[in-house]
């Protein structure tokens, strides 16, 4: 158990020592390193601008976007309120259609289940469809530790895997790499690749196709995630673009799907909302190239053995927090990353978790317990752009503030920040002291020497603020003074 739980104490968070929900260093330190990487900043700026514009165009096309968004929000809220019932129904339906359902309390248990299922088939290779849940639990490492070869088949995941890198975006994990860098990785790591390979995206995609084709055709086991699981019918749904998902969902004998418990939706009809919200918000397309759905096992078509692993790994701890639980509504579209001014500059690695950007800043600390990701709720300027684009209307800024509150309350020691706010609170509750303080702040103008911002050389603890932020030079008169001058008392 962790020391500081959000919401109801007693519900376990995601365990330490497994998976990828915690970084090696706090966000401000990691961000400082990332900000020095000019190439990455340029790549990210270019990519996020492109995708933002595409999204805006296709969202504007739908006259009922606001209604769809509200329906998406309401559907998720309704699902969470009866999550136990929907999961039991999903289990019944998947089982009735020939699948097997497994429950995993956490990452370790899910990894054990999947490893055991793969080993039972006798296969030594696994092909994988990109899935956030399996990245979260560190499934690849677990399978490799058991002596199995794991092949990521999504182009961006392949780039990350071959480059021995880490994903930095939910949808486009290699967004931090440009075409020249990707060409270099392929030329170095793909056996037998054409030495004349250029950095033309088309040629690079074809190189990936050639590299993976043989693996798909001989694969006996695949592991996938799921975008949605329909309780009423037991239908699973995977949304993708390249066809690598279809290869994995269709060709092997055995399919193992790892799904977070929050991905269940009550009815088939609910997909009419989410299949409109998701593609337009994520890749900025009217519809993604391929969406696959299946219920259990279909004789003569696709895998004849199907396993569904339902994963908790801290999700129930998130559910226990009445404010924070909205983070479970996320459909992983990544729109909030693409509009976030902080993400655009720091990139995804700085967040330390597989969930970067605004959604990561509210989800990771809740899954791990806020003390293990204490800096993430502060990795935001609270500008609200993420809330505006979120297709299920998650109020990310509200949850960020809520988590900051949890974090501050958990502090036993008086931090300089807390001391400063206490002093501020004292001053603001006594008008005479407040006016005196404001006048005193004008001394800051001496430091500024006519510049619009104060120098970065303020002594600690003020340097903790100014190191990464500009502090405006105090004005010559306070608001109250100006008002009194112009309007009288």
């Amino acid at each position: 158990m962790t020391a500081v739980d959000l919401g109801m104490p007693g519900l376990p968070t995601a365990p330490r020592g497994v998976g990828h929900l915690r970084g090696d260093e706090p966000f401000p330190d990691a961000a400082r390193t990332a900000l020095r990487n000019g190439q990455q900043r340029a790549n990210l700026g270019h990519a996020t601008t492109t995708i933002r514009n595409k999204r805006a165009r296709v969202v504007a096309e739908l006259p009922d976007w606001a209604q769809l968004r509200e329906a998406g929000r309401a559907l998720k809220a309704a699902t969470m309120a009866r999550l136990d019932d929907h999961l039991e129904e999903l289990e019944r339906q998947v089982t009735a259609h020939g699948g097997t359902v497994h429950w995993a309390r956490d990452a370790n248990e899910a990894n054990e289940i999947v490893t055991r299922l793969v080993q039972a088939t006798g296969a030594t290779e696994v092909v994988k469809v990109k899935s956030m849940a399996t990245q979260e639990i560190g499934l690849n490492e677990a399978l490799e530790a058991a002596g199995l070869d794991v092949f990521e088949t999504d182009l961006a995941e392949l780039i990350v895997q071959l480059g021995e890198d880490k994903p930095s975006h939910i949808l486009v994990p290699a967004i931090h790499k440009n075409r020249a860098e990707i060409r270099e990785i392929f030329a170095r790591t793909i056996p037998g690749v054409d030495p004349g390979l250029t950095d033309d995206p088309r040629q690079l995609a074809m190189a990936a196709r050639a590299h993976l084709r043989e693996r798909f055709l001989r694969a006996r086991v695949a592991v996938s995630g799921a975008n949605f699981g329909v309780a009423e019918t037991g239908t699973l749904c995977v949304v993708e673009s390249e066809g690598n998902g279809r290869m994995c969902l269709t060709l092997p004998d055995t399919l193992i799907t790892v799904m977070g418990i929050e991905k269940v939706v009550p009815t088939w009809r609910d997909l009419e909302v989410f299949l409109q919200l998701l593609p337009r918000s994520s890749t900025g397309e009217r519809m993604n190239p391929y969406t696959s759905t299946w219920a259990g096992v279909t004789p003569g078509d696709g895998p004849q053995e199907f396993h569904l692993v339902l994963l908790d790994n801290g999700r129930t701890a998130v559910l226990a927090d009445e404010v924070g639980r909205e983070a479970l509504h996320c459909i992983r579209c990544s729109a909030c990353l693409n509009v976030c001014p902080v993400y655009e500059r720091t990139g995804g690695h700085a967040y330390g978790s597989v969930y970067p950007g605004p959604i990561g800043a509210i989800l990771s600390p809740q899954l791990t317990g806020v003390e293990d990701n204490a800096s993430l709720p502060y990795a935001s300027s609270l500008c609200g752009a993420c809330y505006d684009v979120c297709p299920v209307a998650i109020d990310i800024p509200k949850i960020l503030v809520h988590l900051r509150g949890e974090h501050v309350e958990a502090q036993t020691r008086l931090t300089p920040e807390a001391a400063a706010f206490r002093a501020l609170s004292a001053a603001m509750s006594r008008p005479w002291l407040w006016h005196l303080t404001q006048r005193a702040s004008r001394l800051g103008r001496l430091l500024a020497r006519g510049k619009p911002t104060l120098p970065r050389v303020l002594p600690p603890p003020a340097s903790g603020w100014t190191r990464s932020r500009d502090l405006p030079t105090p004005p010559t008169s306070t608001f109250v003074e100006s008002w009194t001058r112009e309007h009288g008392r």
């Binding site: 809220a77 088309r202 390249e242 066809g243 519809m287 190239p289 696959s292």
Partner: protein, 210 residues
């Protein structure tokens, strides 16, 4: 306690004894497009949206389907293609098939990778999003058929064209294995620029009847 009991118990604990009953979900978004399936304006919209994905649409009258499928294969494979390189769904009407084409059977699915093109029907098409839905029925074929050959030809009948996503989903059976296809396979993974043709068929041709 089993993991199942544990996880369900945690959910109950998280929601507490007096969980709020959620309000009824309001579905005041567009449930229909307003135009009936097969409406000429919907067919035009479908053509526009499919072509936007850089797929090709050939339109024809009901009695020209066979010839138009052949013309589509000319475009996809180049003139002079061999009929045995084309594999068709087992339930595809005989008059739509190129004579001498291979009919899919219960061979191991990976063998389909040896064929250059596949021809199938669809269950439903969605005009607004340019999407074709295949449902694993005999006329659509199993999923591997529309996946492995590099060129895919789909025949769409006018009354299969629904306006919106909600209308289309209502016409589908969620217990069948469904594949929704919107253009050729594509990736946006390199600098978020769309490149058509990765692992699925690189060429998609739609024969729209009506």
């Amino acid at each position: 306690m089993s993991a199942r009991e544990d996880v369900l118990g945690r959910i109950r604990q998280a929601l507490g004894p007096d969980r709020t009953t959620p309000a009824e979900v309001v579905r005041d978004y567009r449930l229909t497009d307003g135009r009936p399936p097969g409406d000429p304006a919907l067919l035009d919209l479908l053509v526009d949206r499919v072509e936007d994905y850089r797929a090709t649409v050939l339109r024809c009258a009901p009695e020209e389907i066979g010839a138009t499928v052949a013309a589509a294969l000319d475009q996809g494979l180049g003139a002079g293609w061999a009929t045995r390189d084309v594999v068709v769904a087992p339930g595809l009407p005989a008059e739509w098939r190129p004579t001498g084409s291979d009919v899919d059977d219960d061979r191991p699915p990976v063998q389909l990778a040896a064929r250059s093109a596949a021809v199938t029907a669809v269950a439903v098409a969605i005009a607004e999003t340019g999407t074709l839905v295949l449902d694993g029925s005999p006329a659509c074929g199993r999923r591997a058929l529309s996946l492995l050959p590099d060129c895919l030809v789909c025949v769409v009948l006018a009354d299969q064209v629904a306006g919106s996503v909600p209308e289309a989903l209502a016409r589908l059976d969620p217990l069948r294995p469904l594949t929704m296809v919107s253009g050729p396979s594509a990736t946006s993974d390199i600098e978020l620029q769309r490149v058509e043709g990765v692992h699925g068929p690189r060429t998609l041709l739609v024969v729209l009847v009506g």
